[in-house]
């Protein structure tokens, strides 16, 4: 009985020690380091004037105007607290209907990433094909030659990281900011 009691006392002290070490000292030290080394990245990669951000480079926001490129569909309607996905499976009637609706709006041969909602609901990127698919609409809405828009898309396109990791992608928020900056 006494030994069992000792176990529980040691356990309680161990939880306190581990809480101080791994639950407070570790995350606070990492916060200090990250804030010193990478303030932009550690604070959400915000875009826009300090104190009045227009969003985060890493978080999709809603665009519906024809003059902007549109991001991938979001099951949480681009809300970030919390964000979410459709969680519909391959044989879901709801998913099939959603895809049909998007096809009806966007037209035939729409690239897959514009027909399917992202996993996070906040995917900041579209595929280069999805960007190209929207060039004509954006150019027309802005009364710009398509080549000008296409040039901005090319500037906003990232290849696979380090040349081989992940997929090519276009950051929608940065691209739309570049469009608005054209004068």
């Amino acid at each position: 009985m006494k030994n069992i009691l000792i176990d529980y006392l040691v356990a309680l002290r161990a939880i306190v020690v581990f809480t101080v070490l791994t639950g407070l000292a570790y995350p606070l030290a990492m916060t200090g380091l990250a804030q010193a080394l990478f303030p932009q990245a550690a604070n959400g990669s915000l875009v826009g004037p300090a104190g009045q951000p227009v969003g985060s480079e890493l978080v999709a926001q809603k665009f519906t105007a024809p003059k902007y490129f549109w991001p991938r569909p979001s099951a949480s309607d681009y809300g970030a607290v919390p964000s979410g996905a459709s969680n519909q499976g391959f044989t879901s009637a709801k998913l099939a209907a959603a895809v049909e609706e998007r096809r009806a709006t966007l037209g035939p041969n729409t690239p897959a990433d514009l027909l399917y909602a992202s996993g996070s609901g906040l995917d900041p990127h579209i595929s280069p094909e999805a960007a190209e698919y929207q060039v004509a609409r954006v150019a027309e809405a802005r009364q710009l030659p398509p080549e000008v828009v296409r040039h901005l898309v090319a500037n906003a396109t990232e290849g696979p990281q380090l040349g081989f990791l992940g997929q090519a992608r276009v950051n929608v928020l940065l691209l739309n900011r570049a469009l608005d900056a054209l004068k």
Binding site: L33, N43, V81, S118
Partner: protein
């Protein structure tokens, strides 16, 4: 595109194989207490906690200390979650977590499951994430390593009745293995764009003039240990699909590697401690084959166009920066290891890829598996395999020089098959009563898959989900909470009992009739045993769920 995908997968496998020996060697040295370069800190922790680190424990004392540590850990975490409204570091003024959800979450993190019936950004204060969840992210894998060490000592100790000191094993794992790796990894993650900040959420005015609230928090430090400790509980609700948890393809690659890193290296650690590194490589090989088979099947299935929507690339629930291959590589790795984080929504995977994820968990999380837990789980299958091999050649089975007898085989069978049975029982109950069925997000066979997946995840201590299922209900919080507890301890206790009975046995030198366990032949036999016994168990249920769904999908049916 295909060539790049192959290259990424090959690099992942190569990095895993290359890192296994050095990390395995390092862990063997520090866990055996031979390299003690942090001795002053280690000793200080022992004194602060009142640990007598040199005291040897019987398996009962070892298990007693482990249970005490988990009971206290559970109580403290429950109190933090329910009381977060009164605690500091809560810039969003989030209220305390309600009892059923708090209980489910506390069990989930203490048992290394990290099942989440909440979204972190909407429910958890920074204090809860740091001082509550992160702490268990460190100590729950360390408990797994401790059980593994106890079991290995049962095999390698030549005389005696004791299996080591639980507290010393726990402290050394955190101090020498988990903490240094987590510090390194946090910095890399934060540099790539994972948030690490204590300020409140930021409100942005979007380019079209709407308000968007952008969550913040000390995420990088938690995500580093979430992957390294095969925990898997996300800082944010959508886990590693969230751009703040997994912002770039590089973080994706490193997080994937971090999931397998320690469990894979522990096979080498095991080989070193038992004095024959080929014993470790045989287990590594069996795990690698099962991993590769699951990955290949998932990737093939996910690359077929959906015959219902006729969209050529299956991007529902996936992220553009990652793509299909990286999503199924992750869904395989996270369910092989008992990690459970996701970078795509498993509920939206093709029926066969979803089935592979489910089956990986049902095998008992032994394909590298959880930190420590994968090794002791695999050793249960090893005992069963040497027993079956012994039956075939008509000799008393032995492993690492010690005879395996009825008691050990019985205990291994309990550890392997009680969780499997309870997955089916739990799923059967949930799919026959309204409390289970009203939570479904998908109809038809996929609905059954959602339920099966939830119980496989809980009993296997995985934590990933077919997340459409609404699980924050009293029914699922309690059923799955109980499942996680049983799934954890129905393996730990028999493993320690086996350690206790093995340590008393005297070792005999190998004879010509001994079936060698350090060969590719043994690894192949082990793989067959794993597949045959689990396939028999789950084939009927899988036929009703994912296999049916695959068939009706080919006919273009929807539900």
């Amino acid at each position: 595109m295909f060539a790049l995908d192959i290259l990424q997968a090959a690099l992942f496998a190569a990095a895993l194989i290359l890192l296994t020996p050095p990390l395995g060697l390092y862990m063997a040295r520090v866990l055996e207490g031979r390299w003690r370069f942090l001795a002053p800190v280690e000793t200080a922790i022992y004194r602060l906690c009142g640990i007598r680190e040199l005291r040897e424990m019987s398996w009962k004392q070892y298990a007693g200390a482990l249970i005490a540590f988990n009971v206290i850990g559970l109580a403290v975490l429950l109190a933090i979650l329910m009381g977060q409204g009164f605690l500091p570091l809560n810039p969003q003024n989030l209220p305390g977590i309600k009892f059923f959800l708090a209980l489910n979450t506390a069990i989930s993190f203490v048992t290394n499951t990290n099942w989440q019936a909440y979204s972190g950004e909407a429910a958890m204060s920074y204090f809860s994430q740091m001082a509550g969840l992160t702490v268990q992210n460190f100590v729950s894998p360390a408990v797994g390593v401790a059980v593994m060490l106890g079991l290995i000592r049962g095999f390698v100790r030549r005389t005696g009745t004791t299996v080591g000191n639980f507290w010393a094993d726990l402290v050394r794992t955190v101090l020498y293995v988990l903490l240094p790796l987590a510090i390194l990894f946090s910095i890399v993650l934060a540099g790539q764009g994972v948030v690490q900040s204590l300020s409140g959420y930021v409100t942005a005015t979007t380019m079209e003039g709407a308000q968007q609230s952008i969550p913040m928090g000390p995420a990088a430090s938690q995500i580093a240990i979430k992957q390294l400790g095969t925990n898997g509980g996300g800082f944010f609700g959508v886990n590693s699909a969230h751009p703040f948890e997994n912002p770039t393809p590089l973080t994706n690659f490193l997080e994937l590697l971090a999931i397998f890193l320690i469990p894979a290296a522990l096979t080498y650690t095991f080989g070193l401690i038992v004095g024959d590194s080929r014993q470790g490589w045989a287990l590594f090989g069996a795990m690698f084959v099962l991993f590769l088979a699951g990955f290949a099947a998932s990737w093939w299935a996910e690359s077929q166009p959906n015959p219902v929507t006729h969209v050529p690339i299956n991007m529902e629930g996936k992220e553009q920066r990652l793509g299909v291959m990286n999503s199924v590589l992750w869904s395989t790795v996270t369910t092989d290891a008992s990690n459970g984080s996701v970078n795509s929504m498993h509920d939206s995977l093709s029926p066969i890829a979803g089935m592979v994820a489910m089956l990986n968990m049902k095998l008992g999380e032994v394909i590298y598996g959880g930190v420590g837990a994968g090794m002791y789980g695999m050793l249960m299958y090893v005992l069963l395999t040497v027993f079956i091999a012994g039956l075939m050649v008509g000799r008393t089975p032995e492993y690492l020089g010690k005879k395996i007898e009825a008691r050990e085989v019985r205990l291994a069978v309990i550890a392997l098959f009680v969780p499997s049975g309870l997955i089916l029982v739990g799923a059967a109950i949930a799919s026959s009563i309204p409390a289970g069925l009203t939570s479904l997000a998908n109809a038809g066979p996929h609905g059954l898959s959602e339920i099966l997946y939830a119980f496989a995840s809980a009993l296997g201590n995985n934590g990933s989900a077919f997340a459409g299922l609404t699980v924050d209900t009293p029914f699922y919080n309690l059923m799955l909470g109980a499942g996680m507890l049983i799934g954890r301890f129905i393996v730990i206790i028999p493993a320690l009992m086996i350690a206790g009975s093995m340590v008393r046995k005297t070792a005999a030198p190998p004879s010509p009739g001994t079936f060698p366990t350090n060969t590719p032949l043994f690894a192949a036999l082990l793989v067959s045993v794993i597949l045959i016994v689990s396939a028999l168990f789950f084939l009927p249920a899988l036929t009703l769920g994912p296999i049916s769904e695959h068939m009706v999908m080919l006919q273009g049916r929807t539900f």
